[in-house]
């Protein structure tokens, strides 16, 4: 235990079930962006948590209500989980962190999962985003 804390994963294991849950959320939210968190233990993703997108321009932006963040963080604590990833969708553009995504990323230890619905088959990709630097992490 503890070895995963703060470590940089070389790949990110997202089970098919979690991937399907995130994609389903993205599809249900379209044309708005969907957003949520992935909780886990020891760096292993176990649970996708849908959050409300409270941004006033939700088709091209997202923001999670900080009070919902507070509630989810406490719930993860109670379950012995930690934050593993933050996901959101780009309904009509590529699954790559936009300038806004980079500017507003404040969780360097989390994996940023992006879902694009621009193609019939949704694309899911994962990244580390820190200080404007973006590094893709292979999904496994």
């Amino acid at each position: 235990m503890g070895s995963a804390t703060g470590s940089v994963a070389e790949s990110f294991a997202l089970t098919r079930e979690l991937r399907e849950r995130i994609v389903a959320h993205a599809r249900e939210s379209a044309p708005n962006e969907a957003c949520g968190l992935v909780a886990g233990k020891g760096g292993v993703a176990t649970r996708a948590i849908r959050c409300a997108n409270v941004h006033e321009a939700p088709t091209t932006r997202y923001r999670i209500d900080p009070r919902e963040q507070l509630r989810v963080f406490r719930d993860m604590d109670d379950r012995g989980e930690e934050l593993v990833a933050i996901y959101h969708s780009h309904p009509a553009s590529q699954p790559y962190p936009s300038p806004t995504d980079r500017a507003e990323s404040h969780y360097p230890d989390a994996v940023y999962v992006l879902v694009s619905l621009r193609t019939e088959e949704p694309e899911v990709r994962a990244f580390r985003v820190h200080d404007d630097l973006v590094r893709e992490i292979p999904l496994s």
């Binding site: 900080p66 780009h90 936009s98 507003e104 404040h106 820190h130």
Partner: protein, 103 residues
């Protein structure tokens, strides 16, 4: 009696890598000053030059949003938990201007 301060996200590297620490003070400003003494540079990550909470920093004292209790003047009762939560936001659009955590 100290309070517990929790720092999820990017702010932990401003506090020596800790996500949870104890601090003393009667207001949020005093709590931040106490952490600043041990971790120089911390304060500038959470408040701006005029001493206001940075726009992308949300602080809860127990269940209370610090902004609704006077911002950095918000009273912090003994033994309470202070959660400092950086915003989770982004999206495909927008200008990409960094409204960051003071770096």
């Amino acid at each position: 009696m100290p309070v517990t301060v929790r720092l999820p996200g990017a702010l932990r590297d401003a506090a020596g890598g800790q996500t949870k620490l104890e601090a003393s003070g009667r207001t949020l400003a005093e709590i931040f000053a106490d952490i600043e003494r041990r971790h120089p540079g911390f304060r500038g990550r959470v408040v701006d030059e005029s001493g206001r909470l940075r726009s992308y920093v949300n602080v809860y004292i127990g269940e209370d949003d610090a902004r609704s209790r006077g911002g950095t003047d918000a009273p912090v009762p003994d033994g309470s938990e202070v959660m400092v939560i950086p915003a989770m936001a982004g999206g495909a659009g927008g200008d990409g201007v960094r409204h960051g955590l003071g770096r």
